[in-house]
């Protein structure tokens, strides 16, 4: 016996098997993303003032990605229509268009948006004195003014009344100074330059570090460790504790905002050229003012690039966009399979079955598109 209804509709349900299957699968996917969206709501509602740093997103890049994903949803329908009209060439044309759109989406996400964030750092300070020293003495009052506008934009994007803003309660030392690390000074006072702005080497100096006296004194050891009381010590001696690995005494830092014009400086785009910054840094460093600053290790309470460990916002951002991007990748692989010669043979053998496959792929693709349409506002706009 053959399995019935694999290519034609069952009269009483009006579905062929694949369509029933994909709708059930999508129901499950709705629950998966629904749970993550719920987690987003719960974490955001519970977030302390000055920790939900969503104002950093480049909305135009996000909007561009939204547009091409919507466009790809249209082209995949065209591919299906062509098959319905027995137009194989038209099908291939529209299918390729869909793949190219999807691929562009991933390129923007994975080679532009994510890596740029991995080289962008936040510094918070141990005491109010160390913070104000950096903000007013080194960077000057003009910078501080610009910086406070940026905090407002970043942590309170809905721009509530300045005085009622929850940001007013956050101490200066806990407000992050953002920018790029261009170098560090080791224990012998020797200055070192670090990696490119973006590209492969970003992991080499991406790290999250927190001021911790014990942490500073501990020797490098990557295995499980035990405290003096004999109990295991959790999460100490972390692999990304570059301070200890390289024996860093101070970092050389380029604040991303306030020192350059807005077009050039927005480091979230990864557009800063380090050679330039370094060149400027030379005299700035010796003069004591200018584009780069040196922040001593003792003054830093937490240093983190915009990686998942940075904050619950970025954790949510990477998890949601990452899971969505995996769905896009899966869709691309399936669509490429439909463009292989083997699919032509399936089509010739049973055109109805093949057309159904394209319809099902389309349903999945619309779902992926729909998820992004929810992700874009909650991560970039609201």
């Amino acid at each position: 016996m053959e399995i019935p209804y694999y290519d034609k509709e069952r009269p009483d349900t009006g579905l062929y098997n694949g369509k029933a299957g994909i709708w059930l699968f999508l129901a499950s996917e709705v629950m998966l993303f629904g749970a993550l969206f719920s987690a987003y709501v719960l974490l955001r509602v519970g977030a302390e003032p000055g920790t939900w740093s969503m104002g950093l997103m480049n909305q135009w890049v996000g909007a561009f990605n939204t547009l091409i994903l919507i466009a790809s949803s249209a082209t995949i329908v065209m591919a299906w229509v062509c098959l319905k009209l027995n137009d194989w060439k038209g099908f291939r044309k529209w299918k390729w268009a869909t793949v190219i759109f999807a691929f562009t989406f991933l390129v923007v996400k994975w080679s532009y948006e994510w890596p740029a964030k991995f080289t962008h750092y936040d510094v918070t300070f141990v005491t109010e004195e160390s913070a104000s020293k950096v903000y007013t003495d080194v960077l000057g009052p003009e910078f501080s003014e610009t910086q406070s506008k940026i905090w407002q934009e970043r942590f309170d994007p809905l721009k509530k009344d300045q005085e009622k803003s929850p940001l007013a309660q956050v101490k200066l030392k806990d407000k992050p100074l953002d920018g790029h690390i261009v170098g560090y000074i080791d224990s012998d006072g020797v200055e070192h330059e670090v990696g490119a702005a973006w590209g492969i080497p970003f992991w080499s100096h991406a790290f999250a570090w927190r001021h911790d006296r014990k942490n500073i004194e501990k020797e490098k050891d990557k295995s499980i460790r035990y405290g003096e009381d004999g109990r295991p010590v959790y999460k100490e001696g972390h692999f990304r504790d570059t301070f200890r690995d390289k024996d860093i005494k101070a970092i050389i830092f380029v604040p991303a905002h306030g020192t350059w014009d807005r077009e050039e400086k927005h480091a979230g785009s990864g557009a800063i050229k380090y050679a330039e910054a370094k060149h400027d840094a030379g005299h700035a460093h010796s003069e004591g003012h200018g584009h780069t600053i040196t922040i001593a290790r003792e003054d830093i309470s937490r240093l983190s690039s915009y990686e998942p460990a940075h904050s619950t916002f970025f954790a949510t951002y990477y998890t949601l966009t990452g899971l969505h991007a995996l769905h896009v990748l899966g869709g691309i692989l399936v669509m490429l399979y439909h463009l292989l010669p083997v699919s032509r043979r399936v089509y010739e053998k049973n055109p109805v079955q093949f057309t159904n496959r394209i319809e099902i792929t389309g349903l999945f693709w619309h779902f992926v598109d729909l998820v992004w349409i929810f992700l874009f506002p909650i991560l970039y706009l609201l």
């Binding site: 029933a20 299957g21 295991p232 954790a315």
Partner: protein, 633 residues
């Protein structure tokens, strides 16, 4: 129909003759990478039975530790000490030691066994056995389908399960050993625990969830799309209904756990703080090096959003099996079939809105607690209806007391005890006292051990003749049944008493720390000698239970080749379609497209005069009342 019955011998060898429309298969495609739902069902079944045994061995080790804290485990201890020779458990003094140090189970080893016992029993044993194994084998047969809707997806589901099982098993042998944070993996503990077992656990869970997703889609699509002509919704056997609802629970409840698992994996691998609040201390005097801002409660919500429907995933296939067997062995229609189906659907829906009754002690507001208490009490109504219908079905039946029917009958009171003792846990004011005590253990084990597992044993004894053409030994089956029934109650009944006395469920010394023996100055609140002495009784029960299962294992394998031949495709004289095929069914199942004319339980219908006492679903013979109805129309 008796027409498919062949005289004796070698149905097996002629299988290929029956498989119209299916190509010849090599050994690999037939038995290993098979797309045949029956082979996949058996693969699932064997895998699940292996893990059922493994989960049981883990708990026997724990029971020994509870009865005789810090004494070497007899026989097994020295052997396992050699197996676990490398240092993988923490001894509490900052050193890694073997799980079995000097043949004794370390506290960390006990935690691993506890976490993995729960995980293995729930996700690797009972769900695969009840849902995947029986579902795969029986559902397409019962609805008259040639296979599942998506055979290759079905195979993918099994291999994802296999991969998940492999990861879980391997995690015992990595440095630090398996997960130790309990089967619920509560954060922050599970997020910060320094060994890698928890990470393996999460990866394993993602694979198992993928497997269950693929399986659930397949089951629902199959039941919607592939019902044979005439197999209307209310002609489906109740077992199919139970699988249908179970599949929906898996489809919709598991993804939130997957989301939670992904987030915990991010916490562990990428150092995020989804479940870690600001300023959390794990050890020492400094807060952890994390951003904070997360919510430990988020994990509990997401976990129990799966966790509660999961309870019904464990029990609904069991109720389905019991319904089939009771109807068949009382030779009567099920009482209130439509009522049961309705209850099942209500139960499935309500199971999504009761989850927070696992979390009364998290400090939720009384309004929230009231909501969840109410829904919890409401959900007991359909459960009671199901059980009552099954009891009513026994009324005036002429019951055949064979092994499957005895297991199915024992299921009813055992599940009843489990269900009724759940009510005090559903009210937050009684739960305050009973939470996290042995009372909870006793309650849910009455539901899943003498409940689900008895039903699964019943199913194995019942469908074994369809799979092999031979029966399992009735004598040894009854030994297995009576032994299991007695020992189950010896194990779990005393736990109610221990729970009332306040014994916590998470102590590796069985509560000795809080006993009167070790605290002679404490006059009240310490565990009395009587309560403590129950530990030995329970452990003896557990080891007795183990002995009885050996009978089952031997019986099972012996009967595959040497069991009594059934000489019939329908040895139980059943009405449902799986018995109207050759034995064992060939690839493609039916020799011709079956048509369904009747409901699933047409036993002892006085209107019928076909001379058999039952009316198979595909028997075109009409009952007198059906003829009258047609004449009127």
């Amino acid at each position: 129909m008796e027409t498919t019955t062949q005289p004796e011998a070698e149905h097996g060898e002629h299988n290929d003759d029956h498989s119209h429309g299916h190509a010849e298969q090599s050994f690999f495609t037939k038995y290993i990478f098979s797309t045949d739902h029956k082979v996949i069902g058996i693969q699932y079944g064997v895998g699940a039975l292996v893990f059922l045994l493994m989960g049981f061995i883990l708990i026997m080790g724990m029971r020994w530790q509870m009865a005789k804290p810090d004494t070497p485990v007899p026989v097994l201890g020295p052997i396992l000490e050699k197996v676990y020779a490398h240092e993988i458990a923490l001894d509490g003094q900052g050193k890694t030691v073997p799980i079995f140090k000097d043949g004794k189970i370390t506290a960390s080893g006990y935690n691993q066994f506890g976490a993995m016992h729960g995980t293995i029993m729930v996700f690797l044993a009972i769900v695969p056995l009840g849902f995947a194994a029986f579902g795969n084998y029986v559902v397409p047969l019962q609805i008259g389908a040639p296979d599942m809707c998506f055979p290759r997806v079905n195979m993918a589901s099994f291999w994802a399960f296999f991969a998940g099982c492999t990861v879980m098993t391997v995690s015992f042998f990595i440095p630090g050993g398996a997960a130790q944070a309990g089967w619920t993996s509560y954060s922050p503990l599970a997020s910060v625990i320094p060994t890698d077992g928890q990470t393996y656990w999460l990866v394993g869970m993602v694979l198992l969830i993928t497997s269950s997703l693929l399986g659930a889609v397949n089951f629902i699509a199959t039941i919607i799309q592939l019902r044979a002509p005439g197999m209307t919704w209310f002609r489906m056997p109740f077992f199919v209904w139970a699988q249908f609802v179970t599949a929906f629970l898996l489809l919709l409840a598991f993804p939130p756990l997957e989301a939670a698992g992904i987030m915990q994996l991010m916490d562990r691998v990428c150092d995020t703080s989804f479940f870690l609040p600001s300023g959390v201390f794990a050890s020492g005097t400094e807060p952890m090096n994390v951003s904070g801002g997360g919510s430990p409660l988020l994990w509990q919500h997401l976990f129990w959003f799966l966790g509660h429907p999961e309870v019904y995933v464990l029990i609904l296939p069991a109720i389905g099996i019991v319904t089939e067997i009771i109807s068949n062995n009382t030779r009567r229609p099920i009482w209130g079939y439509r009522l049961m189906v309705g209850s099942l659907l209500v139960l499935g829906f309500l199971s999504f809105i009761v989850w927070a009754h696992h979390m009364y002690l998290t400090g939720m507001s009384s309004k929230v607690a009231t909501f969840f208490q109410t829904t919890t009490m409401i959900i007991s109504i359909p459960s009671v209806i199901l059980l009552t219908c099954l009891f009513m079905s026994l009324w005036r039946g002429s019951i055949r007391f064979n092994t499957p029917s005895m297991f199915a009958l024992a299921f009813l009171p055992m599940f009843g005890i489990g269900g009724l003792t759940g009510l005090p846990l559903g009210f937050n004011f009684t739960d305050l006292h009973l939470h996290d005590s042995y009372y909870v253990i006793a309650h849910f084990h009455y539901v899943v051990a003498p409940g689900s597992i008895f039903a699964l044993f019943a199913g194995i004894y019942y469908w074994f003749p369809k799979m092999t053409g031979r029966r399992m030994s009735e004598y040894w089956g009854k030994v297995h049944f009576w032994g299991s029934l007695i020992f189950m109650n010896i194990i779990f009944m005393p736990m109610f008493i221990q729970g009332f006395a306040g014994m916590s469920r998470r102590m590796s010394d069985g509560g000795a720390t809080y006993s009167m023996i070790n605290n002679p100055d404490v006059t009240s609140g310490a565990l009395t000698d009587q309560v403590m002495s129950l530990n030995s009784l329970i452990t003896m029960g557990a080891f007795g239970m183990g002995l009885v299962q050996i009978v089952f294992i031997v019986n099972f394998f012996w009967s595959i080749r040497n069991g009594e031949k059934t000489n019939s495709d329908n040895p139980w004289k059943a009405t449902t379609l799986e018995w109207q095929t050759p034995t064992p069914p060939p690839h493609g199942n039916f020799l011709e497209q079956p048509k369904t004319y009747h409901g699933p339980y047409e036993y002892s219908n006085p209107d019928v005069d076909n001379g058999k006492g039952f009316l198979a679903q595909n028997d075109p013979h009409k009952s007198v009342s059906e003829e009258q109805k047609e004449a009127e129309a």
